[in-house]
C-alpha cells in the first residue's frame, strides 16, 4: 500500500519550493513521523516527515524545484519493510470479532486482540521486531540523534588523567532548523519586548468556582490557556496589525485567527497551531491544546499542525520563569509570553495586598507594529485577564 508524500502548503504566498537535504535515501526503511528531507523556500524551511512506516521511495533529489501539492514520492507500507507502528490515537478499538476475511494483512489495523477488559490502545504494536529496527541505532549517520557515545578508540586509553574532557555531539536536524530560524527571526525583524503584569485573582477564582462543573460537563480541564487565547483573540480584533505579516512590500492581514501554543516535547519546543480560535469556546480551546500536548509527547504531531499560525503564546511559567523575552516565530509579528503566577504584594486602593501576579511579555516586530499599539495590545490582554467579564461582553 502506498502512502503518498506531497509538498505541503507552507505559507499563503508560497507556490514552489526547493528540495534541500535528504536525510533518508530512497529505498531505506522509515518509521512513521521520521524525518525524511528538508524543503526550502526563502521564507521558511520545513522538514517533511514520513506519513507511515515502510519503504521510502523518493522521486526527487536535492536541488529539484517542486510545486506546492506536488507528489514527491511515497512510502510503501508493505509487511516486509514495515517499521513498527506508533499507536494511532483514533483507531477503533471495540468490536474484536471481524467475521469477514480481510485481504492480505499488511497493515496492523485490525483491532482484534483487545480482550474483554476495555483496551484503550488503538492499534497493535509490532510484536515481530523487524531487523531494521534492531539495527537502526547502529546504522546512524553521525548527524542523527543519538545518546552521545563519546568517541573512544578501540584500544584502552590510560585513564590516569582526571576527566577534563569535552564531549561532542552533532547537532540534530531539528536543532539546526531551530537555530537557523531563531537567528533569522532576530535578523529580519526589528524585535523588542514590552512588559506588563496582570492580577490573576479573577481568573483563579472563576476556575475554583467552576472547574468541577466544567470538567464534568466538557470532559476536559479548565486551564489558564483558554482565557489567554480568548484574550489574545480579543486583542487581535482590536489591533489587527498583530495578525499580519510582511510579504515583500506589502503587509498582509489575516482575516482568521490561528494561534500557536508552544508546548515542550523531547524533540524540543514545538508550536502546534489552534485554528480559528475566534470560533472556539473555552472547552474547545482546552480540548485542542490537550490533544496537541498528547501528540507532542507521543510524537504524533504532523507538519501540518505546526505551520501557519498568526500569533503565538508561549508559557515559560511551567518551568518557573518569572520574566523573559520570547523570540517571535517568523513570519508572525508578535508573541505573548506567559510566566509563573507568583503571589506578591501589590498596591490596591493605596493598600498593600497579596495578589497572584503574572508578568506578561509581548515581543513584537516594530516594522509592522508601533510601540504604542504594542503597549495597548498588552494592556488590553491584561484587562481581559484581570476582569474576564470583558471577554463575555467583548469589550
Amino acid at each position: 500500500m502506498k502512502s503518498e508524500i506531497k509538498v505541503p502548503p507552507m505559507g499563503e504566498s508560497i507556490t514552489e519550493a526547493t528540495i534541500g537535504a535528504i536525510f533518508k535515501q530512497s529505498g531505506s526503511g522509515v518509521k512513521p513521523d521520521e524525518e525524511l528531507l528538508e524543503i526550502e523556500t526563502d521564507k521558511v524551511n520545513q522538514v517533511l516527515y514520513a506519513p507511515q512506516g515502510g519503504a521510502l521511495n523518493l522521486t526527487v533529489k536535492t536541488g529539484d524545484v517542486v510545486q506546492i501539492g506536488q507528489s514527491i514520492g511515497w512510502v510503501e507500507t508493505d509487511a516486509k519493510a514495515e517499521a513498527p507502528e506508533q499507536p494511532k490515537p483514533s483507531a477503533p478499538s471495540s468490536g474484536s470479532e471481524n467475521e469477514k476475511p480481510q485481504e492480505r494483512p499488511t497493515e496492523v489495523q485490525a483491532p482484534a486482540p483487545a480482550a474483554k477488559k476495555e483496551e484503550t490502545q488503538a492499534s497493535q504494536p509490532s510484536v515481530r521486531m523487524p531487523k531494521e529496527e534492531f539495527l537502526a541505532d547502529i546504522r546512524k549517520k553521525p548527524a542523527e540523534e543519538t545518546p552521545a557515545v563519546p568517541k573512544k578508540t578501540p584500544t584502552a586509553t590510560p585513564k590516569i588523567e582526571t576527566a577534563r574532557q569535552e564531549t561532542r555531539k552533532p547537532m540534530t536536524k531539528i536543532r539546526k532548523v531551530i537555530a537557523q530560524r531563531l537567528v533569522e527571526s532576530q535578523q529580519n525583524s526589528a524585535m523588542l519586548t514590552t512588559f506588563n503584569e496582570c492580577d490573576m485573582s479573577q481568573v483563579i477564582s472563576l476556575r475554583e468556582k467552576y472547574k468541577e462543573t466544567f470538567s464534568k460537563h466538557w470532559d476536559v480541564k479548565l486551564g489558564f490557556m483558554s482565557f489567554f487565547v480568548k484574550a489574545v483573540v480579543s486583542g487581535l480584533k482590536e489591533f489587527p496589525q498583530f495578525n499580519s505579516y510582511i510579504d515583500g512590500e506589502e503587509i498582509v492581514h489575516r482575516e482568521y485567527f490561528d494561534i500557536g501554543i508552544a508546548v515542550g516535547s523531547e524533540r524540543g519546543l514545538v508550536v502546534p497551531v489552534v485554528r480559528d480560535c475566534e470560533r472556539l469556546s473555552f472547552h474547545e480551546i482546552e480540548q485542542a491544546i490537550e490533544k496537541y500536548g498528547q501528540q507532542a509527547r507521543g510524537g504524533g504531531l504532523s507538519a501540518d499542525d505546526l505551520k501557519g499560525g498568526g500569533f503565538t503564546i508561549t508559557n515559560g511559567g511551567v518551568y518557573g520563569s518569572l520574566l523573559s523575552t520570547p523570540i517571535i516565530n517568523p513570519p508572525q509579528c508578535g508573541i505573548l509570553g506567559l510566566h509563573k503566577i507568583m503571589k506578591r504584594p501589590i498596591a490596591v486602593d493605596d493598600k498593600v495586598v497579596i495578589a497572584p501576579m503574572m508578568y506578561l511579555a509581548l515581543s513584537y516586530d516594530h516594522r509592522i507594529v508601533d510601540g504604542r499599539e504594542a503597549v495597548l495590545f498588552l494592556v488590553h490582554i491584561k484587562n481581559c485577564i484581570e476582569d474576564p467579564t470583558r471577554l463575555l461582553l467583548e469589550i
Binding site: 509487511a79 492480505r104 483487545a114 510484536v127 534492531f134 539495527l135 578501540p154
Partner: protein, 466 residues
C-alpha cells in the same frame, strides 16, 4: 456442543502447548487440539528430543571407544545394543510428553484429540477423532508445524528411504547410510549413525554444510565431522534414486562428475515445509503462500484477524524455541496484553553434533552485506584451558561486531558446550552489549566460556591467551 473457548490452539507442539499454558496463566479459557495421541508435537515426539537422546547415547559410545584410552581407561569390549538405545530414547520422550500433558491438565486446558478443520465458520473447528466435535473459540492459534520434504522422485517408506522420523527409529544401524541435505538435521543424524559404526556419506546441493551458519565456523565443523568418518559431497545434486534389494541406489551429479552411491538407508533431510493439510483454511479465506507458509502481520494475525499463526507455519527460523516465544506473544495478545517484541536476531540456533555449533545474530557475511564495517574476534578452543583438561581441541569462537560502536552483532561457537554457552551471546545481543561489555564481564576460570572472553579481546587487538 461446548461453550466457546477464549482461545483454541490447533497443534500441541512447542508453539501450541506453550501458548496454551501461557493463555491459561492469563486466565483465558483454553482448548488445545492435536491429531496425535501425545502432546509435544514434532519436537518432543519425533524431533528435538529423541534426536538428542540418540546423540547422547552415540556420543557416549564414541567417547568410550575413541577417547577412554587417553585417560588410561580400558574399554576393551565396548559395544552397544541399539534396541536399548531406542528404548531409552522412548523413555525420555515419554517422560517429557507425560510431563507436558500433566502441566496442560493442571492449568485446566481442555485437550481434544483429532484432526481440526475449518468448514466455513471462522469461529469454530470440527475436530475429527474418535468422535466428531465442534470446538468454538474467540481466538484461534494455528500451530500445526511442519513435515519433512521428500525427494521428488522417491517417496518416504520410513524403512529404506527415511525422513528424520524413520531415522530416529531404525531397527538396525545401517552398514552404509547416505544423507541428502547437510543442514542441522542431516548432520546430527549422520553423526549418530557414524558414531555407531555406519559408513555415512552426506550429499549437499550447496557448497557448504549448515548453510545458515557462519561459513568459517561450518568449515571447521565439517573438518571435525570428517574425522568422525563422515564423507561429504558438496555442490552435489541427487539426480535420481531407486530402491534396490539391499536398500537404495542414487545417481549423484557434482559438476562434471556423475557417480552412484549405494546404501542400506537413505535419509532425506532437505528441509521441512509447513503443514496445513486438512485444516480447511481455504474455507475461511486463509491462503498459504507459494512455499506453504501462512502470511501474517507483525502481530501474528492471519487474513482473519482473530486467527493467529505461529511456529513453523510462518516465516522465520524453524526452531522450537522460536515457536514457543511466538506462542507466548500471541497468548498475551489474546489476553489483551502488550507482549515484549520478539527480536529474531537474538534467537539462537544449535547443531548438536560433537563439537556442537551454536550461533546467534548475524554471520560475518550477513553483517557485511548489511553494510556494517566489522570487528571480528576469534579464538581457537585449542587455546582454552578447560578444553585442554577435557582433551578437546576442536572448535573456535567467533564474534562479529560493528566497528563504530563495538556493538555485538553475532556470536558463533563451535565447541563441546556451545549450546549452553551461546546464551551469553543471546543476552548480549538482546541488550545491545558491546565487545567491551563482554570483556568487562568476568568469566569463570577454567571454563569454555573464556574463549568468548578471549575472542572479544582479540577483536580489539588485546587477546591475552594466544
Amino acid at each position: 456442543m461446548e461453550d466457546a473457548f477464549d482461545l483454541v490452539v490447533i497443534g500441541a507442539g512447542p508453539g501450541g502447548y506453550v501458548a496454551a499454558i501461557r493463555a491459561a496463566q492469563l486466565g483465558l479459557k483454553t482448548a488445545i487440539i492435536d491429531k496425535n495421541a501425545t502432546l509435544g508435537g514434532t519436537c518432543l515426539n519425533i524431533g528435538c528430543i529423541p534426536s538428542k537422546a540418540l546423540l547422547q547415547s552415540s556420543e557416549l559410545y564414541w567417547e568410550l571407544t575413541q577417547h577412554a584410552a587417553e585417560h588410561g581407561i580400558t574399554c576393551k569390549e565396548a559395544s552397544y545394543d541399539l534396541e536399548t538405545i531406542m528404548q531409552r530414547k522412548q523413555k525420555v520422550v515419554k517422560s517429557l510428553v507425560d510431563g507436558v500433558a500433566a502441566i496442560v491438565k493442571r492449568h485446566g486446558i481442555v485437550s481434544f484429540r483429532g484432526t481440526a478443520r475449518f468448514t466455513g465458520d471462522p469461529h469454530a473447528v470440527e475436530v475429527v477423532g474418535e468422535q466428531t466435535q465442534t470446538v468454538k473459540g474467540k481466538y484461534f492459534i494455528l500451530a500445526t508445524g511442519s513435515d519433512s520434504i521428500p525427494l521428488p522422485f522417491i517417496p518416504f517408506d520410513e524403512k529404506h528411504v527415511v525422513s528424520s522420523t524413520g531415522a530416529l527409529d531404525l531397527p538396525q544401524v545401517p552398514k552404509r547410510m547416505v544423507v541428502v541435505g547437510a543442514g542441522v538435521i542431516g548432520v546430527e543424524l549422520a553423526s549418530v549413525y557414524a558414531r555407531l559404526g555406519s559408513q555415512v556419506t552426506i550429499v549437499e546441493m550447496l557448497d557448504r554444510i549448515c548453510p545458515l551458519n557462519d561459513r568459517g565456523i561450518t568449515r571447521l565443523l565439517q573438518q571435525a565431522l570428517k574425522k568422525q568418518g563422515i564423507s561429504f559431497h558438496l555442490s552435489a545434486k541427487v539426480a535420481s534414486a531407486a530402491q534396490t534389494t539391499q536398500g537404495v541406489s542414487l545417481q549423484v551429479e557434482a559438476g562434471e562428475e556423475h557417480f552412484t552411491l549405494e546404501c542400506e538407508v537413505l535419509l532425506v533431510a532437505i528441509g521441512r515445509r509447513p503443514y496445513t493439510q486438512g485444516l480447511g483454511l481455504e474455507s475461511i479465506g486463509i491462503e498459504a503462500d507459494k512455499k506453504g507458509f501462512i502470511p501474517i502481520n507483525h502481530s501474528f494475525q492471519t487474513a482473519v484477524p482473530h486467527i493467529f499463526a505461529i511456529g513453523d507455519l510462518v516465516d522465520g527460523p524453524m526452531l522450537a524455541h522460536k515457536a514457543s516465544e511466538e506462542g507466548i506473544a500471541v497468548a498475551e495478545l489474546a489476553a489483551g496484553h502488550k507482549p515484549a517484541p520478539i527480536n529474531y536476531l537474538a534467537i539462537p540456533n544449535v547443531v548438536y553434533t560433537s563439537p556442537e555449533l551454536a550461533a546467534v545474530g548475524l554471520t560475518e557475511e550477513e553483517a557485511k552485506s548489511e553494510g556494517f564495517d566489522l570487528l571480528i574476534g576469534s579464538y581457537p578452543i585449542k587455546g582454552n584451558a578447560r578444553a585442554r583438561c577435557a582433551g578437546d581441541d576442536e572448535g573456535a569462537v567467533k564474534l562479529v561486531a560493528d566497528k563504530a560502536s563495538g556493538r555485538l552483532l553475532g556470536m558463533h561457537i563451535l565447541c563441546k558446550h556451545a549450546s549452553e554457552m551461546i546464551e551469553e551471546g543471546v543476552l548480549a545481543i538482546q541488550k545491545k552489549c558491546t565487545l567491551e561489555d563482554v570483556i568487562n564481564a568476568s568469566h569463570a576460570h577454567p571454563t569454555y566460556t573464556e574463549a568468548i572472553h578471549e575472542a572479544a579481546l582479540q577483536a580489539l587487538g588485546r587477546v591475552i591467551h594466544l
